[in-house]
Symmetry: C2
Subunit: 167 residues, 2 copies
């Protein structure tokens, strides 16, 4: 099965597509969607929507996992990140993909074994699971793959098995 993981953001939105065939995990695609911070908010959100529609159309993920946006110090940034995650969720759901949200701690726990893991530890564990020797860059893409791996780890076996037969 294919899972599209999204690390939402308005200026930088990470994405990663992970396929699983039995025990074999593979990163099919990973990257960062960028929008121009100087452009208007609505236009930037429309761009994120268009890009996620294109990703879902290209990779046809079975499921989509999105990192939940928490309120940090900067409320304005949190709102814009939340809006970017909202348009990404809307694009995925409109294409018929089930969408699941995970908190940053859930992602770190699932991938690195504990919720306090830093970005480097997460990136190393992601590489380990995927058998990659080179660093995963940019870091937003590694985070997005971690979200996809988290979803694969959290899925009930029945759902994994049922879906796995389709690819």
């Amino acid at each position: 099965m294919f899972v599209l993981g999204i690390d939402p953001g308005l200026t930088r939105c990470g994405y990663g597509v992970v396929s699983r065939n039995g025990r074999h995990l593979e990163a099919v695609a990973a990257g960062v969607l960028r929008t121009d911070p100087a452009a208007e908010l609505a236009a930037r959100l429309a761009e994120v929507h268009r890009e996620i529609v294109a990703l879902v159309s290209e990779y046809e993920p079975d499921e989509v996992a999105v990192e939940r946006v928490l309120f940090q110090v900067n409320v304005q940034t949190a709102m814009q990140t939340g809006q970017a995650s909202g348009v990404a969720m809307a694009a995925a759901a409109a294409a018929g993909c089930p969408v699941t949200l995970y908190s940053p701690n859930e992602v770190k726990s699932a991938v690195a074994g504990w919720g306090g893991a830093d970005k480097d530890q997460v990136e190393q564990m992601v590489r380990g699971q995927l058998g990659l020797t080179k660093p995963l860059r940019p870091v937003d893409a590694a985070d997005a793959i971690a979200v996809a791996l988290c979803h694969l780890a959290m899925l009930p076996p029945a759902r994994r098995v049922a879906k796995a037969g389709t690819r």
Copy 2:
């Protein structure tokens, strides 16, 4: 010119289309988009997006005005409202409509004369400007029309004149 005003919300999203021809203001459409609180967040956001796409396609507004989402007591609600506004903005921008945000205080000041006006006062002033004798219901629709009227009041004259000729 036609302005689509949006009072964003996930469970209830108010909309109102106001046309202005010279000094004549008219409410062309007003209503509330509802999504099922029991449905999944991504599906609800996709529905808001689909409905706004349909509204923009039907009424072809020249501009879209959206009430800015502020952080209230309930952070979770503020985030979901912000996400609903995000997908609405994305849908409008994708259709080529300029999108402008106004704070609740800006809307109240423009329509009722002061930022502390309550919902009833705003609704009465909206009716007065549109020459309506019956109450505007539901209240989310009246709020959305207020956002559209605020935008018409705030637009620079040159932009109003230039656009007015097209309708």
